[in-house]
């Protein structure tokens, strides 16, 4: 089996597993006064510092995951501002930015900065941009966008869920959303990093946890695991990914790679095989022991048409693209198995089409 669906979730890193298991044995509630509570609080604050050290500076608010971190920033900061969102943002952002204005991307999937600049002229705004796209891995020019926002007095929220831990993040933006399991931690924790003293209105009020920004007892094992994963060294996956793409181009010159020519995450490759339904490809590869994905998976498991590729002007070809995303522990053997399975699949499909 080769697991090449890291952008859905990274395999658990051993250091994250160890930290999470250690935290499971902490009896105390971080909010408790007594010694056990203080011991739990120490682990929580150490995790907070680790996240700030790695992705800061800023105040760290722990959440249940990336979706909640995005929602907290957008719903909590949008008051009195127009919300501007990139066309290829994640559904977590699009759903939180109800009534938002969509900013177009170019054919490579990069945000159109001139459109952002023009939209910023129309009054106070909250701009939501992802550092890296989940489907294509395409990186947006966050530093440039941040400069435009600063000049216009607008806030910039950065969805860094896919970029964190994979590329060095520019120290830009007023808030930053992170997801623990996308770093290689356990599922169940995320964080919102706040800069410049911003105070979003809480989505969930409660016992005053997270300085009143997020009610509810913190899920310490998931948070400790997330912090441990954040401190792990960044893998160098570009050579494997580039080799994978080069092999496929030799086998099948007809393939189209999304965001080709744009700066991309080093682990992500979105590959279209013209005429082959993405759904068929994902199933065929799964049956061959290779796990990839296509579009955005609904909770039912159905494969929906990609709004990202549609925004890039792909038309019909959008239905023929799969996403290969290498996990932190990917090996040359994984790539080899993928290439073999993909080539066999393509051969069968073209025999059938003939």
């Amino acid at each position: 089996m080769s697991y090449l669906d890291a952008n859905a979730t990274e395999p658990l890193r051993p250091e994250a597993r160890a930290a999470a298991i250690a935290a499971l044995d902490l009896a105390g509630n971080p909010s408790s006064v007594h010694a056990e509570g203080r011991a739990a609080r120490r682990v929580l604050e150490a995790a907070r510092e680790a996240i700030a050290r790695r992705f800061g500076p800023g105040a760290v608010v722990f959440t249940a995951g990336g979706t909640e971190a995005n929602a907290l920033a957008i719903r909590g900061l949008a008051a009195g501002r127009r919300v501007l969102v990139g066309a290829t943002e994640h559904p977590a952002v699009l759903a939180a930015a109800t009534g938002g204005v969509t900013l177009p991307v170019d054919g490579r999937g990069i945000i159109a900065l001139e459109a952002l600049e023009a939209a910023l002229l129309e009054g106070p705004a909250l701009v939501c941009l992802m550092a890296a796209n989940n489907e294509t891995g395409v990186l947006h020019p966050i530093a440039e966008a941040a400069a435009l926002c600063r000049d216009a007095g607008a806030l910039l929220h950065v969805d860094a869920v896919q970029a964190a831990g994979r590329v060095t993040l520019p120290e830009a933006g007023d808030s930053l959303a992170l997801s623990g399991h996308k770093l290689g931690g356990p599922k169940g924790a995320g964080a919102l990093l706040l800069r410049g003293g911003l105070e979003p209105a809480p989505l969930i009020a409660g016992g005053g946890q997270e300085r009143g920004r997020r009610g509810g007892t913190e899920p310490l094992p998931a948070i400790a695991g997330m912090a441990a994963a954040a401190e792990a060294p960044m893998p160098d996956l570009a050579p494997l990914r580039d080799a994978l793409e080069a092999r496929l181009r030799i086998i099948a010159p007809e393939i189209v790679i999304a965001g080709d020519g744009a700066p991309r995450l080093p682990n992500t490759s979105c590959i279209a095989l013209p005429g082959a339904a993405a759904e068929t490809q994902v199933i065929a590869l799964d049956l061959a022991g290779v796990r990839v994905s296509a579009g955005a998976a609904c909770s039912s498991g159905k494969v929906a048409r990609s709004h990202v590729l549609a925004a890039m002007g792909w038309g019909e070809l959008a239905g023929c693209a799969i996403r290969v995303s290498l996990p932190w522990n990917a090996t040359a053997e994984d790539v080899e198995r993928f290439v073999e399975a993909w080539a066999a699949m393509r051969a069968r499909l073209s025999r059938r089409a003939a």
Binding site: T280, I283, C298, G301
Partner: protein
């Protein structure tokens, strides 16, 4: 795998027989939208049931998004057919397109050797190729809905429930295999109209079929107003809202005239005809060169009736001469049987207006 007991049992039987089984569930329409439940998932409970059965059996399972294909090939066809004044049969269209064309293609793309479905029908191999037969259980028989399956598709297909004596036997297998769906009630009616009226669905896609018009009798007298031709089918007696004079016979829908948006009514005795034609024919045997004696089934809930069948190759139509007059509703399937075997069939055509 619809999530119902039949296809679940099929998956279980195939897995038990040692095959590598891949479960496929078709997502045909947005369940949340169809039931008007705000915020409901696009997937209904049936899809989750199918996933649970697959998990229980330890087989791979995929949900296939066929919403667009289903809307175009089945729902739109359903509405268009009503707008032409016909009574469509969407299950046949679905079998013909989404199921036996697309799923057979996908199965072949994945390197599968056969497609097994939960239909109640039998498929046997003959020296001339595969034959489609009625199911052993006459109550459940679905061969009528499968007439449009091509011979090539049929060769690739298996119907493991065809020999089941009755539904109780199928439920018993589900219970034996520990499938949670063993006691699930049978699905009813048209799947994409889970509640409310099919006419509302038609009205959304074809507002013209929901526009009111005149109800006239055989003499051309206006007898009332109808609420859109989509609400009526030939042979229908209820819901016409016509006052019948003392001593006059009850009136039934005799014809639906779509261009004039008019319903013609007549006494029941005036409805049956002996001649009918069926187009879009599919033959599961070599089409007969000369008229043959056979039995023909003109609606789902009816036993096949003796008739003489002729193949009009030039027109691509089947000419039907019924021994005893019957009611012909355009749009319904006319399926030809020789005993248990399905020979072929077509879709009933509107009769030419009788010369007054």
């Amino acid at each position: 795998m619809s999530g119902g007991v039949d296809s679940s049992v099929v998956a279980g039987l195939m897995a038990e027989a040692g095959h590598e089984v891949i479960g496929a569930t078709l997502q045909l329409y947005d369940h949340g939208a169809a039931t008007s439940r705000k915020g409901a998932c696009c997937a209904g409970q049936d899809i989750l049931d199918a996933r649970r059965v697959a998990d229980r059996l330890g087989i791979a399972h995929y949900v296939l998004d066929r919403e667009n294909r289903f809307r175009d090939a089945v729902m739109r066809d359903f509405a268009d057919s009503y707008a032409r004044g016909e009574t469509p049969i969407p299950c046949v269209r679905c079998n013909q397109t989404v199921k036996f064309t697309d799923l057979v293609d996908l199965a072949r793309d994945l390197g599968c050797e056969a497609l097994a479905t939960g239909h109640y029908a039998r498929r046997i191999d003959t020296p001339e190729g595969p034959a489609l037969l009625r199911a052993a259980d006459p109550v459940r028989d679905q061969s009528y809905f499968l007439f449009a399956t091509t011979r090539e598709q049929l060769a690739f297909t298996r119907f493991p429930l065809g020999e089941m004596p009755d539904k109780a036997a199928v439920r018993a297998v589900a219970a034996r295999l520990g499938l949670g769906v063993a006691e699930k009630p049978d699905s009813q009616d048209i799947c994409f109209v889970p509640q409310g009226s099919y006419a509302d669905v038609v009205a959304k896609l074809r507002p013209d079929a929901a526009a009111p018009g005149e109800i006239v009798d055989a003499e051309g007298r206006v007898r009332g107003t109808h609420k859109g031709i989509a609400h009526y089918t030939v042979g229908q007696g209820r819901g016409l809202g016509i006052a019948v004079a003392d001593g006059e016979e009850r009136l039934y829908v005799a014809a639906v005239d779509a261009p004039r948006r008019r319903i013609t009514v007549a006494p029941r005795t005036a409805l049956p005809v002996t001649d009918a034609r069926a187009g879009e024919a599919n033959w599961l045997v070599t089409p007969p060169a000369a008229p043959v004696r056979a039995q023909i089934k003109l609606r789902a809930r009816e036993v096949p009736q003796p008739a003489t069948i002729a193949w009009d190759a030039a027109a691509g139509e089947i000419a039907i001469a019924l021994d005893a007059p019957g009611i012909v509703a355009p749009g319904q399937a006319a399926v030809i049987y020789d005993g248990d075997r399905v020979l072929g069939g077509g879709f009933l055509r509107a009769r030419l207006a009788r010369a007054a």
